[in-house]
Subunit: 404 residues, 2 copies
């Protein structure tokens, strides 16, 4: 497997674009993106579990009932959620794209991100669509990745090459996500494209099993968005024997998909609103997988620990506290905790009690940009990883005045 450039355009047959159409007042910020596949593609998706669902999710779910899609349209600046005319607008977006690309409206994935509860006007989208389609190109991936950004500080793209039954295949993706990030059986907005030939059913199996260990293990602020969605389009243009069942080819695809999703998870967590650090919590020695995941996620979600990490403070008592209230059944007297970064590892707790450590060394380790929180429960062989970020002044600043 090799990392390559190209994001959502890396795989054969995919083009993309992103422009400013006028949903946002700021003319320098692209606010609408399009991804197009030459051939109709198998499409799998997962959605937020929030009862309040963005109108685009409802329309996308209907459109994907047959397991196929050929284009993705996504705007930023307005979530098209909690509006009386949301469904109508989302359908109009699909119709406009379908007409412009001469495809079926049912083959369009539609998504929106931004403020909730403000009506989204179709006018700027209608006016901008001809240009958005005209700009579709093999190197439009960066513009597309920019068009879906909200408070994100950098574009999130990744792609890899891999091999399935002797054929070179490619998978790539882009993501948007910075705040309101605490996915539950779905996530922020993630669009993945691949030229692998795979049935819609197996593509859904692959995605659903992957996100349980990737996007569902990311938290920025504990708030599960109304508009979370992950989709994968697989257009089959790599020419491999179509994957229609479990087996070696499916496993190769799963590995490549996981590389994309973990890469995007780390980018999303590290770019959490106001974040200065990426936190990766690795829990080992758990009696079962559920315990490992529950503990890892509880730690990564603790506001107190997140603030301590911002301050490079080795306050490991907050790690134990978060394990204790996680709901997982653990023996607190067996827990070991260490902090690790590129500057080394510092052990701070053994068997649930503090041990002597160098505060100077701990500070040096914790001042780095990527921190691993290593927890060994010493009670079994299961492990899990969760990703998050520190809690900073800028998180408060960004969210204290998001609408205005």
């Amino acid at each position: 497997m090799t990392l390559i450039d190209g994001g959502v355009c890396a795989a054969k047959g995919f083009t993309a674009s992103g422009i400013h159409c006028g949903i946002r007042a700021n003319r320098t910020k692209r606010d609408i993106s399009l991804i197009y596949s030459e051939k109709n593609a198998s499409c799998a998706a997962v959605y937020t579990t929030n009862l309040v669902k963005g109108a685009p999710l409802v329309v996308t779910k209907e459109n994907l009932a047959d397991g196929y899609a050929q284009a993705v349209i996504c705007n930023s600046g307005n979530a098209n959620t909690c509006n009386s005319n949301g469904i109508e607008i989302a359908k109009q977006m699909c119709d406009l794209v379908a007409k412009g690309l001469s495809i079926d409206p049912d083959d369009v994935v539609v998504a929106s991100t931004g403020v909730i509860g403000q009506k989204l006007s179709i006018d700027p989208i209608k006016a901008g669509l001809p240009e958005l389609i005209a700009q579709l190109s093999k190197d439009g991936n960066a513009n597309a990745a920019e068009g879906i950004m909200t408070t994100d500080t950098f574009k999130k793209e990744i792609a890899v090459k891999f091999t399935v039954d002797g054929k070179e295949c490619t998978i790539g993706g882009m993501a948007k996500g910075s705040g309101m990030i605490h996915p539950n059986m779905a996530t922020m907005l993630v669009f993945i494209t691949t030229d692998v030939a795979i049935s819609p059913a197996m593509l859904q199996v692959a995605l659903s099993s992957d996100i349980a260990n990737t996007f569902n293990m990311v938290s920025v602020d504990g708030d599960t968005s109304t508009n979370d969605m992950v989709t994968v389009l697989a257009n089959g243009m790599a020419g491999n024997t179509p994957i229609t069942d479990q087996g070696e080819a499916f496993n190769e695809f799963m590995k490549a998909l996981n590389t994309i999703t973990v890469g995007l998870c780390r980018m999303i967590a590290g770019d959490g609103e106001g974040a200065t650090k990426l936190l990766e919590c690795v829990v080992t020695g758990a009696a079962d997988l559920c315990t490992a995941k529950t503990v890892a996620k509880s730690i990564i979600c603790s506001s107190l620990l997140k603030a301590a990490m911002f301050g490079a403070d080795a306050n490991w008592g907050r790690v134990l506290c978060a394990i204790g209230y996680s709901g997982a059944d653990v023996d607190v007297n067996k827990i070991d905790v260490a902090f690790k970064s590129s500057k080394g590892t510092v052990e701070v707790c053994k068997n649930g009690a503090g041990i002597d450590f160098s505060e100077k060394k701990a500070k040096e380790v914790l001042l780095e940009k990527e921190i691993d929180i290593l927890v060994n429960l010493n009670s079994g062989s299961f492990s899990a990883t969760a990703w998050g970020c520190d809690l900073t002044y800028d998180y408060v600043k960004i969210n204290g005045d998001y609408r205005t």
Copy 2:
């Protein structure tokens, strides 16, 4: 019922004190407090559900097995939690108090609050205890309330007079709580004293049923502490016929207890670490009590909403978002939302969708120090209230560097 001064010393037979004994380096901050009842008192308690429990809780629980206590000792500056010798130190604290007051060690409630995982030395406590006992007085309540403070910015005390079967009774309390506040079947440190005559069993019934609607509905940061504890001492010196069953007298006592606990809840939430605003979320129209409570607590816990309130931003979409991911079964198309303060009420959402409102008026309402978030689910007759605070730069500052 009349509000009076005196905190934990208001009820007959109770004295208190608080001094600096040297657990903290800062000599101007009292760090240990004592409450003493002339007569052995019925005592009820609730504790944190965190699996990691402070050593003092373990010792207190043992001591209260018989339902009686006569003194409370509590230090700040060190939580005596996750230490290899925690139980030993907590027991020594009880022994010292018992010896000094000529009471049984089993009649001492012991509590600690502060940093987790650093050994607590008995030396300053041993050295300070004679003075702590010498200072016990009827007006020692304020010093005692100060001695248990950590990042609290003000002392939390309240007391009321009420009548039970013709006898004037008094109940008062003090609390410590600012961060790591998200109680679950227990809470921060709260000590309540009353001269009502009531059996230990009925006192426990009263406390356990009260906290379900009071301390368990408060959240500052979603972190359930390892050292949460609420105790009530009732020494019977008011001379009423002892309450040993449900009935009018019990109801009168419950009302008085609830006045104390709600008062302390509001103080704790309003003094949340870094808070500039007290948030009170009132959910009405729920189909059942569990739904009302789940929704109220989910809203009060949302980091995004808390940051918006800090910025006086009427971002009601975050209220709907928090309802949607709360896990409660609600019809999102029936939800009404309004913000209220002393400057008036502004309705922002009807039937799950945004309505036109004056941003100027909303800003005026939200710039106040106490904000009510009013949510009507329009699906039944149950209601619940939860208390919290805004998320501010200072929360991050306080917790980014708590230990050092």
